[in-house]
Symmetry: C2
Subunit: 626 residues, 2 copies
């Protein structure tokens, strides 16, 4: 979840290049700095002290890249921008249903300070007007104003990642002069929307409006909403996804008061402004914008702030309804087992089966964020092609998130496997808790041979291949003991030539788990595997290791380093108890001298085996590069 | 653009599996069929004839998958659902600016038939109320009502993909009884919002409301809006992307009349309903929903229709603000030239250079739909890592679309290459017209050696590699003539052994373009390349071909089929005039008999060369599988 995110710095040297986005923002800030219309709010003296030239712009991507220009560190009071965030906290405290009973969500079509209570119930029309916001703050848990504001500060700090505090002077002025808001609070008490002493919530509301933020804070708060509630700079969860949805909804329909429709139409980003000159806009899933400039228009919105949002939206077509269609982007790649197989090497017969029937094992690599619409694409692909496969592998290695709806759809798909006589294999699902839980819950009713979970995609593919092979030839060669004449390097020899070779070999057995070849050792022998399996493993990261290849009875291993006269480049371990024959390099030299024609055939066989593997590898590369 | 899309059919055989989405929809339809509240509209007799039990549900993905349940083929009149679509046509006819002068976009907070004109200008508050819709239809080009309705029918037909027509009986009734709408039209004429004879637009409006559609049509119309204006079933462009943005904006803020805020909050899909019982909802970028059920609530909305939208939204968390964050999903893969190189084989010295410095060539494979936010991720990656690379390849092979904002950002990035002494190579951009044009326009001012466009990613990688190698050793080996003793298969021989081999070889030259090896031929010789280049090409599709490998002077080719005693599996052609030596298979057999030790060394060398290539291939596979 954590995202590395720092503000951009000047490029460290001349070999580096500057960001076009940063350059755009710098120029925008410089150009709009010249807008001199609008005046600083003066209804309380503290606000009147603001310098009308202050102007900062901050754009933060949903994954935490911060671009800033101008006075982005200057603090000011958050004012009405606090409203959606406190609303989020109230939702966390009471849930959507309870909150809707107290504060409705319909636009008033009126100015921010309109009272707009339902005439019958006294319920404020929405949480963005003062009446709704005072009711919301009153609903935040806490017996005193201090307790409420502490919880609010803690919550807001999760959005900014920087410890926030209240400007006491502004709070004092707000409290002293807020007669209209006092009237509203008592009206709310009258209707039992507020059930406690109304000044408790009211004072907390005054304090909440006096919290000091800077322009960068607003950008990161906006990006946190864009990132479904996770602060993309700190990785901290500031709000639940479902509450972010509600916060953005009220910002969208009621955030810009009497201009909500026009704002949605022309800017297309849920937004909220404050009378100290701040403004915050969110493009869900994509980015957040924070602006600070204290010059206000007649509606009480920052003149430059509004213009920054309009320009950025227009310059880059950033509108919540300019949504690129998802299409099939959740399917990263689809391959069949006869195109890209597991790293287990195969005997000729098994390889033939895989070549002929491997198309019945289909692997779909999924990517991105799985929700209903993206998971539907995967499920549809599975359903539509079901006649073509017996075993379906779904690889979630490139999936960042799967929500409940996606988990449900995929689990429903899994439940259809057994009745249809098909198999489903999931790989790399450990990081997708909803999906894993949903599957595991359902599993108890499912045949374990029908739905399997593997961590490693290569081992999963091997399992699918084995199932296919076993269904065709009943048992796998790996359980067999082969004889020397069945070894792939020893094909085409006359019996008397084989006798010559056999005399040079030394029988040797290893217990399961023993290391047969060790990285760095001199390669002075190679092996014919008679029984059991051995694998080449390389470490990837601290704990994980990746299988490069598994060898089976009848195959040779370790021969290349011998021909190259080099040292071993990887470990080879026994996957089971194994039996093999060792061919020492000295005996090989003896063979070359005394029986050159045998040596020629042996080398020819080595070349052929390798050529086959190279061809397969090149075919796989061209498929993987598609 | 075209998308294969058919309605689901019953699975053809027992080996197939059913779609969980289809099953969900069937069950939902069956369950909600039991809702019996609400009554059929009766304000005109034709509507009163509807059977209250009719009920169809249709869900269509943004890529054109149609799921339907119930009476989805039953036709009914479109009524107010026509309003956003006619608004789109008016935008196409006059542009956003002109239309906004005539009809504003602010919610009225009132019922659909409220007059809601601006008291001063007479401008209707928005195009979803009758006053705004009558003004909008009047603005559609056409001198007569017939001309207007023909254009409207043509436009709507692009959304449905099925020829639509007006129900004349309903139209007659609407026209006969529409006194309130007549009053509105004359009021609009009074304010000069309508400048022609007001009944022209009014009659077209009555006809437009009487267009017959079915539930499936509504689903596909909704999906067309979800798919940015392209009908995903037919592939036809029904509206421009920018107008879809505006249509969805007015549906979102004004579509559900006095319940717009609550609808955004709880359902979160721009929607529109009609008094005949239709309802249409859009989840932008994801899917569209069409419902038909003539039982209406007191607001004139379909009772079951509203409930279907609520349930689908809730069941699958489908809310326009439940947006999965984009994160880094636009970067498919990042590889360096020392990890996965071009298909051009390399001499030892060149290979060493690529191994040592290939990390300075970085290839980023991009995917998905490129807009500002997704392109920013790519540009940021380039900027942040600029110190690490000299040459950056951007591969657009998996990009479906790049909008103007993305094109601009990427072009701005390209403009930074020359000053920073870096190179940018773009591949597979032919299908991205905005990007290609933007780059080509800028190119005239750019050094062509700094920014290049290739169609084929493999050839692009080779160009980058060559640039790197030339910067290190001044000239490439491919321009050289080598001598036999420099051939990689002939290393380690004594001079007298080489003499033996040389005598078996036949010199042969080929002109550029000639086919040296032909698929299917018997492999009776192999080649040592002395000068020039040859490549293995395989056809992919009708016109395109893909390079499997390029061989350089000093390398051998065609040897494997000889050792295997098989036929040729691909064509090999001369990329330039070439000189080579031919080793006939008969001479090879002679060598094995008469000089077995020479043969042994030759085979050993073949094995080693192949082992090197296999190792490289396996390394590339493990990187490509990441």
């Amino acid at each position: 979840m954590k995202s590395s995110a720092k503000a951009r710095k000047a490029p460290p040297s001349s070999t580096c290049i500057t960001s076009p986005v940063q350059d755009y923002l710098d120029k925008l800030q410089q150009r709009l700095q010249k807008m001199n219309s609008g005046t600083v709010a003066t209804y309380i003296p503290e606000l009147g002290k603001a310098d009308p030239d202050w102007f900062g712009v901050c754009l933060v991507s949903a994954d935490g890249q911060v671009y800033e220009a101008g006075n982005t560190q200057k603090t000011f009071t958050i004012q009405s921008i606090s409203k959606p965030f406190t609303y989020g906290l109230a939702l966390e405290d009471h849930g959507r249903e309870q909150i809707l009973k107290k504060v409705w969500v319909e636009p008033s079509g009126e100015a921010f300070n309109s009272i707009s209570l339902d005439p019958a119930t006294g319920r404020p029309l929405n949480p963005m007007i003062n009446a709704g916001a005072i009711a919301t703050t009153s609903l935040v848990r806490g017996k005193t104003a201090q307790q409420k504001i502490h919880r609010i500060l803690d919550a807001f700090t999760r959005y900014t990642g920087r410890r926030l505090e209240v400007d006491d002077k502004v709070y004092g002025s707000e409290s002293d002069t807020g007669h209209r808001n006092r009237a509203i609070a008592h009206m709310l008490r009258n209707f039992d929307i507020i059930t406690e002493e109304p000044t408790t919530g009211l004072e907390a509301y005054f304090m909440q409006c006096s919290i000091l933020v800077n322009c960068r804070d607003l950008g990161i708060m906006a990006a946190t909403l864009a990132n479904a509630g996770v602060n993309p700079v700190t990785g901290e969860v500031a709000a639940k996804r479902e509450h972010v949805e509600s916060m953005l909804s009220v910002m969208s329909s009621c955030g810009m008061y009497d201009a909500a429709g026009e704002w949605v139409y022309n800017v297309g980003m849920p937004a909220k402004s404050g009378v100290a000159g701040g403004i915050l806009a969110v493009l869900p899933g994509q980015l957040g914008i924070g602006v600070f400039s204290p010059r206000l228009d007649s509606h009480g919105n920052s003149v430059r702030g509004i213009e920054v949002c309009r320009e950025i939206s227009r310059s880059f077509d950033l509108h919540m309804f300019n949504t690129p269609p998802l299409r099939k982007s959740s399917i990263r790649r689809k391959v069949k087992a006869n195109e890209v197989g597991s790293n287990r090497l195969r005997h000729k017969k098994e390889a033939e089966i895989l070549q002929a029937f491997g198309g019945r094992i289909v692997k779909i690599e999924i990517q991105g964020e799985l929700t209903f619409a993206t998971a539907e694409v995967v499920v549809r692909e599975a359903v539509d092609t079901a006649a073509e496969w017996d075993c379906l592998m779904l690889d979630f290695g490139h999936v960042q998130m799967a929500d409940e709806a996606a988990a449900q759809l995929l689990t429903d798909l899994a439940a259809r496997m057994a009745p249809a006589d098909k198999k489903l294999v999931l790989t790399a699902v450990d990081h997708l808790s909803d999906l894993k839980q949903s599957m595991q819950k359902k599993f108890k009713q499912l045949s374990p041979r029908r739905v399997r979970i593997f961590q490693d995609a290569d081992l999963a593919m091997e399992w699918c291949e084995n199932e296919l092979i076993e269904s065709r030839i009943k048992r796998l060669h790996s359980n067999h003991r082969v004889s020397l004449k069945d070894c792939e390097l020893l094909t085409g020899f006359l019996q008397e030539q084989l006798e010559v070779i056999f005399k040079l070999l030394v029988s040797k057995n290893f217990r399961k788990g023993s290391r047969i070849i060790r990285t760095g050792e001199r390669a002075d022998k190679f092996y014919f595997l008679m029984k059991g399996k051995v694998s080449v493993w390389v470490p990837i990261g601290k704990k994980a290791k990746k299988r490069l290849a598994t060898f089976l009875p009848g195959m040779a291993f370790g021969e290349m380093a011998v021909l190259e006269n080099s040292t071993r480049s990887a470990d080879i371990k026994a996957d089971s108890d194994i039996e093999c024959y060792v061919f020492p390099v000295k005996k090989l030299q003896e063979l070359a001298k005394e029986h050159p024609l045998i040596m020629i055939r042996l080398l020819n066989n080595i070349s052929l085996v390798m050529a086959g593997r190279l061809r397969k590898a090149n075919r796989e590369i061209s498929i993987l590069c598609r």
